[in-house]
Amino acid sequence: MQRTLTERLAILSDAAKYDASCASSGTEKRDSARSGGLGSTEGSGICHAYAPDGRCISLLKILLTNFCIYDCAYCINRSSSNVARARFTAEEVIWLTLEFYRRNYIEGLFLSSGIIRSSDHTMEQMVRVARELRTTHGFRGYIHLKTIPEASPALIEEAGLYADRLSINIEMPTDAGLASLAPEKRPAGIRRAMAGLRTKIEEMGEPTLRTKARRRFAPAGQSTQVIVGADAASDATILSTSGRLYGSYGLRRVYYSGFSPIPDASSRLPPQKPPLMREHRLYQADWLFRFYGFGIEEITAARPDGMLDLDLDPKLAWALAHRERFPVDVNRAPREMLLRVPGFGVKVVQAILAARRHRRVRLEDLGRLRVSLRKVRPFIATADWTPLRLIDRLDLGALFRPAPEQMALL
């Protein structure tokens, strides 16, 4: 018996929720008031709701179908799983996207799919949805398409013409991990596909000689996801993989997704709580790499097992391991060093640099910027404050570690 649209929406959104990516930012500006049609994008994305898992809901994130001929052990849609299966027609996805968009539930569509029949067949279906949204319905909102690595170049080119973002999930941090959990996937093929996307994105981003116009190809770039905790890879391994991906393929984002229990899980992956704190620390470390001038090895060097400290954020952990670099003189230090002070964000550093031209910065000035003085005080010197030499504070680490949790009565 055919399932209702509501039933299929339930199945195909449930199947999509393990993909952490939901960004709708960083694309070109579009505006239906000028061009007709429906929708707009304005640089920064919008989270239209938050679920009780703390994740932002920005896009209608669904699968075209959760039938899949692959058997990736970590995935709810793998062929050996007994989950209920369903598929949407392209028209249904288009209808849902437009109706959801009109009610301001979403910024656009993130469409993915299990592999049915062949890579090209699957990709073709997804491209068709994007094409019709753009051309038939004049949809100017955000579109993110999952890309099948083995799909033919012509299909990928068309996908980039209609989508804002393309993504290929690397899923496992090492080639060996992928080989053991996702035997049908080819890590080299994934890398080749990412390289192809980068080349296209850069080539199309260059204005052509003749028309001076940029051609359109995935203006919001490409991203990927790594699953954390399904294999034994350390944080150092995961982060060096991300560093390589950022460096090699110009990715906008690497998403880290703590491996989460799924219904009818593979017996090869023992049920466990998703490592949420670990995931959080990885995002912080990723941030330090992308915006604070930290090298990957600097972040992961502190511990011999290559894991990040779960109790301390990685910037604080780095500072505690490099006490000789502190205190930092807020009135004199260069930007790079200010960025290394635990408790100073990029905006605060900018404000300090601007304000320094007007005044000798004092603690209360920092307080006015909503900086946590308790946190930064040990690491900085201001016009009115010099800390004890950090090196002398044996208890400094303890000062920042969370107090041991009280035991609760059973």
């Binding site: 919008i46 959801f100 009109r102 229990p261 998703p274």
Partner: protein, 484 residues
């Protein structure tokens, strides 16, 4: 004390006119009592008439960044906003750089109000929900009810006009309303009443919300930080939240307890399917290249994108051998397509050599690099890696059997000879390799790229070309046989 009565809560031009006149009249910030109300501008005192006598002092000026700030701040519901802005204008007449002092009390206060207004406006674009109502004309009609903290309807309305251009809509709030009818945007300050709205599509949205939530990742605090309770009343999906939270632990426990089940028949069918027909083994160069694609002989393969194999006719008499692929070669999967490749191409052309007639390859087939920031910086391969990759080079040599190999750079020479030479000692001359082949030694074209001095670069480019010309001459001489 001068009382100024503004008619509108967030009308920047109205406030600016008042402030300009006060400033021209030399009224100090602490002498003004700003009020909001109906009676109109300067009701309690005759307005200082800016036009009555031509101003002696020049009109006050402010930096554009202040205008942007003030237009946001004026929308805040804090009654002290007018006074704050007026004080800042007065101070700006003396200190033009005031805004860049991000720690100044007034600047901090204004930035805080600005931030609150921006956040409120952003949340309005996020959490407002349109419900469809019956339409009269051809355009579909939607209505939304929203409760902002600040006077942001006028500020936010253009966003909705840019986004929802092909439908008619109306946004109602206690702090005013906005509407788009047949493309015309209207904004009003008058408080609106909460309408009774229902839309069957909400049920689909709730289905989506319920199912996109992952019960194994309960993080209620993170949700509350971004979607505080004050917004819940107007969010249809918020009604689901308490139950989703309450049921999460049981759902997770059920997943953990579920015993492994037999895979569905569908899976068995796929697995039983014969593995894709193995391709017939390929012969010659194509076969070698296909084989090298999967090479894992050394660890370089999992850092780089792909094997960059040699390219050219299978029986070329001239072979060019470089060190290893670079960034662009790695992305494209073809040798010498980056900056060094362009130098090689140009120089070959100048020397009268045809690249398409030569076989071009590298001693090591995967890109080795070191990450500096987000850039990949070339790293020379180790002798071990060169040794491992000789496996492929030997096969290429055996298959192509070139008469002459142009070895570009030290790595190429050592891959061919097994020795670690000094390039300068071998440069430019012919050397015999085994099997009657000859080698000519020159620099790697990337060496030219690294020379900082243009004169030196020019000199070296000529030498490089001369080396290639020597190769050409040797090949075209009827008696080509290795010297020495």
């Amino acid at each position: 004390m001068r009382t100024v009565r503004l008619r509108h809560a967030a009308d920047f031009p109205e406030w600016r006119d008042a402030a300009r006149m006060l400033l021209l009249g030399g009224v100090a910030p602490h002498e003004v009592d700003w009020r909001l109300g109906e009676e109109g501008l300067f009701a309690e005192e005759p307005a200082p008439r800016a036009t009555a006598s031509p101003p002696v002092t020049p009109l006050p000026r402010v930096p554009p960044s202040f205008l942007e700030l003030a237009e946001a701040v004026i929308c805040h519901s804090d009654p002290a906003r007018f006074e704050l802005l007026y004080r800042m204008i007065a101070r700006l007449q003396v200190d033009r750089q005031l805004l860049s002092d991000r720690m100044d009390r007034d600047v901090v206060a204004a930035r805080r109000l600005e931030k609150a207004v921006r956040r409120d406006a952003h949340k309005m674009t996020a959490f407002l929900r349109f419900r469809e109502v019956p339409a009269e004309g051809a355009r579909r009609r939607f209505v939304a009810w929203f409760e902002p903290d600040h006077h942001i309807v006028g500020r936010t309305a253009p966003f909705f006009a840019r986004r929802f251009a092909d439908m008619d809509w109306m946004i109602l709030t206690p702090k005013g309303s906005a509407s788009l009818t047949d493309g015309a945007l209207r904004v009003s300050e008058a408080p609106a009443q909460k309408p009774d709205l229902a839309d069957p599509t909400d049920a689909l949205w709730l289905t989506y919300y319920r199912n996109i939530f992952n019960p194994a990742r309960l993080k209620v605090k993170a949700m509350m930080a971004e979607m505080p309770k004050k917004y819940w009343a107007n969010l249809p999906e918020a009604a689901l939240i308490p139950d989703l939270i309450a049921q999460a632990p049981a759902r997770v426990a059920a997943m953990a307890e579920q015993a492994a089940r037999r895979p569905p028949a569908f899976h068995d069918r796929i697995q039983a399917r014969a593995p894709a027909e193995p391709l017939p083994p390929m012969e010659g160069l194509a076969g070698l290249r296909a084989e090298a694609r999967g090479c894992t002989r050394c660890p370089l393969h999992c850092q780089a994108t792909q094997t960059v194999f040699g390219e050219g006719p299978e029986h070329a008499s001239l072979m060019f051998l470089g060190e290893q692929p670079g960034d662009e070669e790695d992305l494209e999967g073809r040798p010498f397509v980056g900056p060094a490749g362009r130098i090689l191409d140009d120089t070959m052309r100048q020397a009268g050599l045809d690249r398409s007639a030569a076989y071009v390859t590298n001693a090591v087939k995967h890109f080795k690099y070191e990450l500096r920031g987000k850039r990949r910086i070339h790293q020379s391969p180790s002798s071990g890696e060169v040794e491992q990759c000789r496996w492929w080079l030997d096969r290429e040599m055996a298959l192509i059997r070139p008469k002459l190999v142009v070895a570009m750079g030290r790595t190429a020479v050592s891959a061919l000879t097994g020795k670690v030479p000094k390039l300068a000692d071998l440069r430019g001359r012919l050397h015999a390799l085994d099997a009657g082949r000859a080698m000519i030694v020159t620099v790697h074209p990337s060496y030219l790229l690294r020379l900082p001095d243009a004169r030196a670069r020019g000199r070296e480019a000529i030498r490089f070309r001369e080396d290639l010309e020597a190769a050409r001459d040797w090949l075209s001489s009827p008696t080509s046989s290795p010297a020495r």
